[in-house]
Structures are given as structure tokens and as C-alpha cells.
Symmetry: C2
Subunit: 365 residues, 2 copies
């Protein structure tokens, strides 16, 4: 199938650009003590994870949900899975215990409740589940306070049947959006100081801490270069999005939404068939890839099924023509789609299922 | 299954509240010349559409995409489907022609391109497809200019083999967000004047115009009461969302996202397991349903898998507890999910597939 025959709206991956991104990351970690544990949440797509792992320098896969872990285990993508998130709520810990029978599993904990529920499920299943103590390093979301509170939780975990303490993690998510390299470096270091000082306290107490996980796409070569960080959880780097296209990062856009112009109701506007149900809008509207007649076009707003675009009045674009939109946040965008179209040049060479979208395997409901 | 056993995050429909909404709309249209053609795009869920149609006063179903029309036809929900949207791009018109063999199909057109592609597909399939001329009534998105341009397109449609001109439509979407009833009425009337004056011109030319479709949830009893409007395309009314809860509308919230608190990293904050992959954020963050310990809680921000919540410091809420979030925009929220949990009291009585999510039937790729 030719690229221009893909039904719109559709998510299209440029395989060559993606492979270059994968190689940049693999090369970086090949030359470091730290390794990569690519974050599956960015794409939820086994075919992409296979290519990330095949490039080497990876310790396994990072995921955000039990559902993602189930798919990674079912597809036998790697030997060890890190759920870099707390899991609580009906069925989650028990489903994690099933995953832990298929692959080595590590789960983030940041409270007694998260530890206890996981221990209950592990004991009920007769298996062991690894844990990382999730330390709050500045992002106001999850994570236990650094220092004594984190060490106390680690100690409890180390003494809990069914649980194996493996180390600590801390996600400096609040740093990713800082475009200035110097400021980003400074704040990432400050966050990692919080994590690493806690790790030192854990080790002083004789607590096991072989994994220290942190980082993301925008800090992969900052956090990844800090002594003591053993692995980085970057995800977006593999396809990239508009938001993270910083000059200091070696990654390029490997991803676009193909859309068809549906209407040109006035000379200075058109509407295309990709809206809020085809892409996430939390980081704003998408950019438009330059095309003849679309050079100065900008997206005005998204509605459910439409992207309304401001055009130069002399644009010759007509209904039926194809455009490419560059969304600012790929994770929740890919989450809306069932497949990615993987292209080489103008040929669709594979159609990849976004196998881990949703929260529960539908056959199991 | 009890409601508190539903795995989170999950979309939960209160059947009793939904049935009251359905009855309010059916009662209104039972007493009018205009009828309802409920918009399937709001929920994409055949089980809900069946209940809307069973209540009476409906002419069929409105949809926004070919995919939705395919599901409505496959499920034999009604005799006549209106795609109230332009359809252009690979395969769409030909797929519409397949739908037109299973049910009477009407499609919006607003340009020669939309008419010609539909006519090509209808002729190739040896069937007829109905069209409504989509008139721009003020929403800056799609729709041909009122008056002469619209009439000229209608005339061309009436003379095109494979095409049957059925009438006109115009969506006053720009009016929905106006909370003040008087201003909303005034602007809806102004929009409908544009549509109805065009309809008069069409009839003066001897052009067929048996369907005049317009309106939405917030104008159902404004637009629906204007002489000459034959049907209303309301969708959200059936479940409602936070944005449209105007005092002058008879509809109530029948929908919530159930989430589990994952972490309480500080006394004044917690994080729950429903984020950007569980709900749309284009209309802002969700409200929180009042619960003990959550009375003064507000959502601070959403990230991919988390909803970070500001708490009163004396709140007793702990990780593992359940909360309910009320999202401000249901259409793109439901679009992210595979199922809706339908509850009566605290019992889950059915699990309904969101059968028409996505753009292409996956088996057909």
C-alpha cells in the first residue's frame, strides 16, 4: 500500500527516522555505565519495543500500567519488566502477580498501602515481586519523601514476605519541559541529588539497591551520565514529538498524523479530518508539516472530528488533499489509535497494533 | 459485580439517570413537529443508541464518521443513518456506499469535491446515497456559505446520478457554550435564520428539502422549537457532561470516571489513576464528585496516567480509596475506552462495548 492510500486520520511512523533515534540512544548507553529501560507507555506497541531492545544497551522494559505489563509479558519482549508506577485498585496487584510468573517483575511503591497490597497478591500467588521505592524528586505527583521516610519504607519492603527490594527510582518529570539546557541540567542534578542521597542512606542501612532508575527523553544524557543512576526510563525519544524537539537532543520526528482536508468554507480557512478523537490536546494544537499551499498555515482549534486551520488566502489547497499534522504529545495521542502505519519512503511496509491500549484485556471482562 | 470492583480507571454509566435523560428528550419531541436524530458520536455505543431509539420520537441516528455508520448499520440500529459530516479521503465514500446497501444513508456535502466523490462511489456501487447540503451558520469549521452558493450546490446534487438531494443541515456549534439562555436563544435563532432562508431559496428553485437538520444538546428545545427545523442532532444529552450542565436544561449527569487513589505524597495532595489516557482535557480538568474527605478537593493537573488533586490537609483519604471524576467533555473521553460499565445502584448490570471507537474496523486492515 502506498502512504497516500492510508485511510485518514492515521498515525504514521517513519521507520528510518525511528531507527536513527533508536541508534542514538543505544550508542549513548553502550558507552556508559547506565543502561536504558525504554518506556513502553509512549507507544504501547510491541513491534517498536522489539526494535528498541534489539539495538542493545537495554535492561528490559519500563511500563506505566498493569495492562502494558501484561502485553509485554504475553509478547515475551524481555526478561524483566518495571512498572514505574504505583498500582492499586481492584485486580491490579493480582494481575501483576500473574505477570510475575511470566517475567521478572518490579513495581514502584511509595506507601505502606502500595507495599501491602502487592505483598498480599505475591503471597497469594506464591511468587516474589521486586519493588523500587519511588522517591519524590520534585515532580508534584507520586513518590515518598526522600531520606528517612523512603528508607523506612525500603526497610519494611526488605522484611516483607513475597517482596524483594531491588532499589529506588525517582522521575524528574518537572524538568522535561525546560528548553534551556543549562537550567535543565541544573534541575535534573538537583533532583538526582535527592534520589542518590536516599540511595546512600539505604545502602548505609544494608538495604539492597542494585537498580536506581530515573530520567526521560529530555534528560537521557544528563541523568544517564550521573554516577549512581543505573538506568534511564526514556520513552518519547523513539518517535519524538513537537514538544521535545530541543536542539541539544539528537532525536528527530519519526511520527505524523495524516489527515484529509474535508472542507474549505472560506479562503482563509480549511478543516481536516483529525480532531480531539485523533490526537491529544493537553500540550496544545499540532503543527502542520510544510506542504505546497500550507507553508504559513496554523491550526486554530480542534473539535471532536476536525482540525480547523488558518490558511493564507492565496493557498490552493482543496478538499480531498492530504496534510500531515505534528502532534505535541505522542503518548496520549497513540493511546487513541488501534494501529500505527509503518512506512519506508512512500510505501507502508507494516501495520503495527497498539496492543496495550486500554486498561483491561477485553476478553477477560 | 459490585460497582467498587470495577477495575480503574473506568467509565461508569448510571442507567436510571440516563433513562431519565432519554425520556426528557423523547417527551419534548413527542409534542413537536420536529424529531430527534440522536448523535451517536457522543458515546459510540450501540446499547445506548438502542435505548434512545426505543424511547421514540427519533428519525434514525446521526453519526460523525464512516466507521460509526458501519457499526450502526451492522448492528441494525435504525433504518436511516445521517453522516452529519463531510467524508473525503481514501476509502471513505466507497465504505459509505457499502453502508448504503444496508440502510438508507444520508451524507453532508459542502463542496463539489464532497459531492463528486460520493457520486463516484454511489455509481460504482450501483446504489443511491442521500445528501444534505451543510450550510455554514456561524461555526467556523465546515459548511458552504448560506444563500446562492448553497443553493447552487443543492441544484448540482439534484442533477447528479447516484445522489438524492434530501435537504439541508447547519450546526450552530458556536452557540452551545453560551450559558446564558437569552443569549443562546438569540444566537441560535440567528443561525437558524441563515439555514432556513437558504432552505426557502432551495424550495423556490423546486429543490427537494424534506429534512432540515440542526441543533445540539444545549439548543435542543430552542432549535427544536423553530418552525421549519425537522430534526435535531443532540448527542451529549443522554449522559451529559460537566460543561453542559446548564440550569435551563432538563438533563442530569449520568456518567463518571471511577479512579483509585495511588499516592498521597503530601498532606495537601494525592494522585489518582485516571489521567490523559482516560479522559479528554480540551475543556480542562475534571470536577471531583463529593466524597467524605474530598469535599474541597480540586484537580490540579492531569498527566498520562495520573490526576493530581489538591486536598484539604486534614483529609483522611488514603491510597487505595476510590474517587469519582466528572469529565468536562464526554465525546473524546468515551473515545479512549473500550467499554462502559452500566450500573443500577451499586450493581454493574451490563458492560457495553464502545463498538465504534477508532476509524477503521481492525479486521479489515
Amino acid at each position: 500500500m502506498k502512504v497516500n492510500k492510508i485511510p485518514t486520520p492515521a498515525l504514521v511512523v517513519d521507520i528510518a527516522a525511528m531507527e536513527r533515534n533508536i541508534k542514538h540512544a543505544a550508542d549513548y548507553f553502550a558507552a556508559r555505565q547506565s543502561k536504558l529501560r525504554p518506556h513502553f507507555k509512549a507507544h504501547k506497541t510491541p513491534e517498536i519495543a522489539r526494535r528498541q531492545l534489539a539495538a542493545g544497551s537495554c535492561t528490559g522494559i519500563t511500563v506505566a500500567t498493569v495492562r502494558e505489563a501484561e502485553v509485554v509479558a504475553r509478547e515475551r519482549l524481555c526478561d524483566e519488566i518495571l512498572i514505574a508506577n504505583q498500582i492499586l485498585g481492584p485486580g491490579k496487584a493480582d494481575r501483576a502477580a500473574v505477570v510475575a510468573k511470566q517475567a521478572s517483575l518490579i513495581v514502584a511503591i511509595d506507601s505502606d498501602e502500595t507495599l501491602d497490597d502487592l505483598a498480599r497478591a505475591a503471597q497469594a500467588a506464591g511468587i516474589e515481586i521486586g519493588v523500587l521505592v519511588d522517591v519524590n524528586v520534585g515532580l508534584p505527583r507520586c513518590g515518598i519523601a526522600p531520606g528517612e521516610p523512603a528508607v523506612a519504607l525500603a526497610k519494611r519492603a526488605s522484611q516483607t514476605p513475597g517482596i524483594v527490594l531491588r532499589g529506588a527510582m525517582g522521575y524528574e518529570g518537572h524538568v522535561m519541559g525546560i528548553r534551556d539546557r543549562t537550567e535543565r541540567e541544573e534541575k535534573a542534578h538537583k533532583s538526582m541529588d535527592r534520589l542518590l542521597s536516599t540511595v546512600r542512606m539505604m545502602r548505609d542501612e544494608g538495604l539492597r539497591c542494585e537498580i536506581v532508575s530515573a530520567g526521560g527523553t529530555c534528560t537521557f544524557d544528563i541523568t544517564g551520565g550521573i554516577e549512581g543512576i543505573t538506568e534511564v526510563q526514556a520513552g518519547t525519544y523513539v518517535l519524538m514529538d513537537n514538544t521535545y524537539l530541543y536542539e541539544d537532543l539528537p532525536f528527530e520526528l519519526a511520527f505524523a498524523i495524516h489527515a484529509t482536508v474535508l472542507s474549505r468554507p472560506r479562503p482563509d480557512q480549511c478543516a481536516a479530518d483529525a480532531g480531539l478523537k485523533a490526537m491529544a490536546s493537553d500540550h496544545g494544537v499540532p503543527a502542520i508539516a510544510p506542504l505546497p499551499g500550507m507553508e504559513d498555515a496554523t491550526v486554530l482549534f480542534l473539535s471532536d472530528e476536525h482540525c480547523t486551520i488558518s490558511l493564507p488566502a492565496d493557498s490552493t489547497i482543496r478538499p480531498g488533499e492530504r496534510i500531515k499534522l505534528l502532534p505535541p504529545h505522542i503518548d496520549p495521542t497513540i493511546n487513541m489509535h488501534d494501529v500505527l502505519y509503518a512506512v519506508e519512503g512512500d510505501e507502508v511496509v507494516e501495520i503495527w497494533p497498539v496492543a496495550a491500549r486500554g486498561y483491561v484485556e477485553q476478553r477477560s471482562i
